[in-house]
């Protein structure tokens, strides 16, 4: 067999594949090695990714450029325009980022709340209207039964069944009412739909997961061992 770089990498891949699979038998040194390597190597990969896509192009290079032009051409207003390609305003996000490290300074440790608050506030805020336009409204729209739903009577019947299921599921999630009377009927309907839906979802995913395992075995048997063509 010719030892080409490709072959070496395939052997490495095969070793890793078998090491991970060995976990199915029990925890063992091979799995531990593959697991720790996976954590180390993908963190290392992330560093390269952040360096080339975030830190270098949007922080260090523009900031360095700002210092360079400020020294050679003198300060100008554009150095303080956050939208300019080279500006000193980048020191602000830099400083906010540094506040994370205040955790190690006991007296100033509360400052770590600033970067955390910025992230929590902005991203939770951003997510809500998106959930309304992307999920809530389309789901409600899709659930309402109209005359158009009955263009095909069977499809209309299914649409009514979907509506009943959605109503039941919503009632199941009422927290401030004891599940009694009409609430009991609604909640029962809801949980029946939920169980049927979850079963279907489970069964549906089996196929995709088996394909994944199939892909790994094809790699082992074809690319590595060459016993199948």
């Amino acid at each position: 067999m010719n030892i080409t770089p490709e072959v070496i990498w395939i052997w490495i891949g095969a070793f890793m594949t078998l090491s991970i699979f060995s976990f199915l038998y029990r925890d063992n040194p091979f799995y531990r090695f593959a697991e720790h390597l996976f954590v180390g190597a993908s963190n290392g990969w992330t560093v390269g990714f952040y360096w080339h896509l975030v830190l270098k192009p949007i922080l260090f290079r523009p900031l360095g450029e700002a210092f360079r032009t400020a020294f050679t051409n003198g300060l100008s207003w554009s150095h303080f325009n956050p939208a300019a390609p080279a500006n000193f305003m980048l020191i602000v996000p830099f400083a906010i980022g540094m506040l994370y490290f205040m955790r190690f300074v006991p007296r100033a440790s509360w400052l770590v709340r600033f970067p955390i608050g910025i992230f929590m506030g902005y991203y939770t805020g951003l997510a809500i209207p998106v959930a309304f336009t992307g999920a809530l409204f389309p789901q409600l729209k899709g659930t309402i039964v109209t005359r158009g739903s009955f263009a095909d009577p069977i499809a209309g019947l299914w649409a009514v069944l979907v509506l009943i299921g959605v109503l039941g599921t919503l009632i199941y999630f009422f927290f401030s009412k004891e599940q009694k009377g009409i609430f009991k009927i609604g909640a029962k309907t809801g949980i029946v739909y939920i169980m049927l839906g979850f079963g279907a979802s489970f069964g549906f995913t089996v196929m995709a997961r088996v394909s994944l395992a199939l892909g790994r075995f094809v790699f082992l048997l074809r690319d590595w061992l060459g016993v199948i063509s």
Partner: protein, 288 residues
């Protein structure tokens, strides 16, 4: 036999059986009878209806080795269909990470056809029957740009040949000359083709998607925005089946073989559930 012991069966035995039912059908392939669903049939018919003198097909891939088992057989089946029907095939990788797999599919099918060919007309010649356009980031650029001019988006092919030096490309300018764009994807690329290429330039789009994402695509097929849809390995197997039935090419049908393993795995799980329940009820009766 003590049924109660079955209830506490070591799960490693289950794992062993699972591995066996996946590996054995790979080593000893068998075929299952195959029913073809509407989205697959429509896909096949659309390709079949292309006039090879006027139009070609474009296979745009974006998937990584993770979903190779599902997506790769689709690419190969479509390639074989195109070449067997003498329709020129253009290939494009939407991301560079997938270019290796695209190349693999092309080489595999080219070798297969040429091993069988008796005359030069039967064989597959790069540049005459097939072209690999390569990769141009970001994907929106080729998706939109090919509506105007393919040569403008891909000045050279993957191997660095000038596009206008390739024979196929003399008759192919833009989407008008493409019978169907086959977007084989592990993500949402087929939707991008529908939103930008199909709605704007009217080119037909077929999607080849993973089993998990297939339900998200069916509505678009129902509205006619997709001219065909292959969902997961089952869709690929159905397409292989249609190609084989029409052209009798012989050779490996990877998804069809995979369906053997899929079926045995599904049956195994069902058998296990049945055994588990029998053991459970037997144990309960004994206790009561």
């Amino acid at each position: 036999m003590n049924l109660e012991r079955l209830m506490r069966i070591d799960r490693r035995i289950i794992f062993l059986f699972t591995a066996a039912v996946i590996i054995l059908p790979l080593l000893f392939p068998f075929q299952m009878p195959m029913g073809v669903q509407k989205p697959t049939q429509r896909f096949f018919d659309t390709v079949q209806a292309i006039d090879p003198e006027r139009q070609c097909i474009l296979i745009a891939t974006d998937y990584l080795p993770q979903t190779e088992a599902e997506n790769h057989p689709m690419t190969i089946a479509l390639l074989r269909h195109g070449l067997a029907a003498k329709i020129p095939v253009l290939m494009a990788a939407m991301y560079i990470e997938g270019a290796g797999l695209t190349l693999d599919a092309m080489n595999r099918v080219t070798d297969e056809f040429n091993a069988r060919a008796k005359t030069s007309a039967d064989s597959v010649v790069y540049g005459r029957d097939i072209v690999f356009l390569g990769w141009q980031p970001p994907p929106i650029v080729p998706i939109l740009g090919m509506g105007r001019s393919i040569a403008a988006v891909y000045p050279t092919d993957y191997f660095g040949n000038r596009i206008d030096s390739l024979r196929v490309m003399r008759n192919v300018r833009n989407y008008d000359d493409i019978g169907i764009v086959c977007s084989i994807s592990a993500g949402t690329m087929p939707l991008s083709f529908v939103q930008y290429a199909q709605s704007k330039y009217g080119v037909k789009v077929g999607g080849g998607v993973t089993a998990v994402s297939a339900p998200d695509y069916y509505p678009y097929f129902e509205t006619g925005q997709f001219s065909g849809l292959l969902g997961g390995m089952k869709g690929a197997a159905e397409y292989e089946h249609l190609v084989e039935k029409t052209f009798h090419l012989g050779g490996r049908m990877r998804a069809t073989e995979g369906m053997g393993a899929q079926s045995t795995a599904h049956i195994l799980i069902i058998v296990f559930v049945v055994i588990g329940n029998v053991a459970y009820f037997a144990g309960r009766r004994k206790r009561s």
